[in-house]
């Protein structure tokens, strides 16, 4: 048997068992929705997996194990909830109902994703740009560095989540408070990274630059910025995930839109199928953002 076929065997055996359980096994729970949305979801997953396997061209990647694990978890869920009914009848909704939610609520979900992403994009970009624009001169000009570095060391470790209730009370609107939470979450770590990276610049690079007598803007943006960029970009993924966490946390506190609000609202009305669907959407959004950052890394720092 060819290695490729062998690797495909386990995921597809699990998928076959899952489809059999969904379509053929009798359900022990009432109110199980139509399985159409779930089956469409499985088909999309399978398509994405096959595309990833094709791109890997036989190389060892985690794709085969990951998809096998996904199918195994879904199978366990299907068996535990609608088929055998051994899971909690309210807290663990059938996967059919969760996927059916996507069909029913896709407009509402898109609206909430749009709201969350708008807030995230604005807060993240503001925090990042401010941190770099202020960090570079603060790192380069000794007097500014002596003032700002100790302050940054005190401010950076304070988690914005801790002060977010205060910020909500302080700011004129919930949206501006949420944005400030994200800005602070991104600003301080990036600001410190910028100062530390400039401080650790290779002396010979600095000497070479100084012999060419660059003006301060040239030094900041043509020498120091590209030098610190890999450090900033590699921290982007962590910053992005942290921002998303803070955003969802902020939305739990009193928003009227957003994915965090959607999940919170669904739980408040004991609609756990909607809540689980919302959690899955948040996971998917994080994955897409993470992939976007990886892509950005490859394009922004080509020289590495």
């Amino acid at each position: 048997m060819r290695a490729e076929t062998r690797r495909l065997l386990l995921p597809h055996l699990l998928l076959a068992a899952l489809v059999y359980a969904i379509v053929c096994l009798p359900k022990s729970r009432p109110n199980v929705e139509s399985a159409t949305a779930l089956l469409v979801g499985l088909a999309l997953f399978e398509g994405a997996f096959l595309a990833a396997a094709r791109r890997a061209r036989g190389r060892e990647t985690g794709a085969y194990d990951i998809i096998a694990l996904v199918w195994a978890l879904l199978l366990a869920w299907e068996l535990a909830a609608p088929v055998c009914n051994i899971a909690h009848p309210v807290l663990v909704p059938p996967p059919e109902n969760v996927f059916h939610t996507f069909r029913l609520q896709w407009r509402v979900m898109l609206l909430n994703i749009g709201y969350s992403m708008g807030l995230l994009a604005a807060g993240f970009t503001t925090g990042l740009v401010l941190a770099v624009l202020l960090g570079l001169p603060c790192a380069w000009l000794p007097r500014l560095r002596r003032v700002t570095y100790p302050i940054a060391n005190v401010m950076a470790p304070i988690p914005p989540v801790v002060i977010s209730p205060y910020l909500v009370a302080l700011m004129p609107s919930f949206r501006s408070a949420s944005m400030l939470v994200i800005v602070l979450g991104v600003f301080w770590p990036t600001f410190l990274t910028t100062i530390n990276r400039v401080g650790a610049i290779e002396p010979q690079i600095l000497d070479a630059a100084r012999t060419l007598e660059p003006s301060t803007p040239v030094m900041l943006f043509r020498i120091l910025l590209p030098y610190v960029l890999p450090g900033i970009v590699s921290g982007l993924k962590v910053s992005m995930t942290t921002s998303l966490l803070m955003l969802n946390f902020a939305e739990l506190m009193g928003a009227t839109h957003g994915m965090g609000y959607y999940v919170q609202n669904s739980i408040a009305y004991a609609n756990y199928a909607h809540a689980v669907a919302g959690i899955l959407v948040i996971g998917a959004v994080v994955t897409v953002l993470s992939a976007a950052v990886t892509w950005l890394q490859g394009h922004l720092i080509r020289w590495q």
Partner: protein, 248 residues
């Protein structure tokens, strides 16, 4: 004109509460168009001397003047090639040269700078590698590009800090030849100061040799026609210094 005068130059490294005297009361004049090799063993202060000439550090005592003007910092009248590659890793070979060019000639358009950069790269036989990033090039290729960048500044004075020391013998010889050809060509010669600890580099390239023993210039030798004789003389200096140190 591009003459360099050092007048009672001393330099001291201070670290915490200790101090190390790297250069002691050096006075020497390097004339316009000279190719001077500063020779000496590791730790004798050669690189410190070059850093002072480049303006990267200032003397603790004394003064360095270029064409009568005191050196107060780095300047575009001096181009420097360092021991290790100091190309900017985020720029291609062409962009590195362009950066040097546009620093020295601020009015150059992008297109003009690019064309001029290609000419300099061609001079060091690196035009084919113009689009490569430093990490895609070997050490010898990087040093060639660094020389092209230094030439692009079109400074009167070229300061070279052991630029061939990390290279293998064949590339080293090739780059020495290139450097000498670039210096010797045309009507107006640049003033070159080459730091080296290699006798052969000094004997084959220099029009004058400054031999340094720790912190001081021990001998100032004009290069004679007889290069082999000069090499023997330098060797004798090396041995004499070693014997003195051993006797101590």
């Amino acid at each position: 004109m591009a003459s360099i005068e050092l007048e009672h130059v001393s330099f001291c490294y201070h670290r915490h509460d200790s101090a190390f005297q790297a250069l002691r009361d050096i006075s020497v004049t390097i004339g316009d168009g000279e190719f001077v090799c500063v020779l000496g063993k590791s730790g004798c202060g050669k690189t410190t001397l070059l850093r002072l000439l480049a303006g990267l550090q200032l003397p603790s005592q004394g003064q360095i003047r270029i064409d009568g003007r005191p050196v107060t910092g780095p300047g575009l009248d001096r181009a420097v090639v360092f021991q290790s590659s100091t190309l900017f890793p985020w720029m291609t070979a062409r962009e590195n040269v362009c950066f040097g060019l546009r620093q020295a000639h601020k009015r150059l358009s992008r297109r003009e700078a690019r064309l001029a950069a290609d000419r300099y790269l061609e001079e060091v036989d690196m035009l084919d590698a113009a689009a490569l990033y430093p990490r895609q090039m070997s050490g010898g290729m990087c040093q060639r590009v660094a020389i092209a960048r230094a030439l692009a500044v079109d400074a009167e004075i070229l300061l070279l800090d052991e630029p061939f020391s990390a290279l293998d013998a064949r590339i080293r010889q090739e780059l020495q030849g290139l450097l000498h050809a670039l210096w010797a060509r045309g009507g107006r010669k640049k003033t070159v100061v080459l730091i080296t600890h290699d006798l052969r580099d000094a004997a084959s390239l220099a029009s004058r040799i400054l031999y340094m023993s720790p912190g001081q210039i021990a001998a100032d030798l004009p290069a004679p026609e007889d290069r082999e004789g000069l090499e023997r003389e330098l060797m004798a200096l090396f041995y004499r210094e070693a014997e003195q140190r051993y006797a101590c």
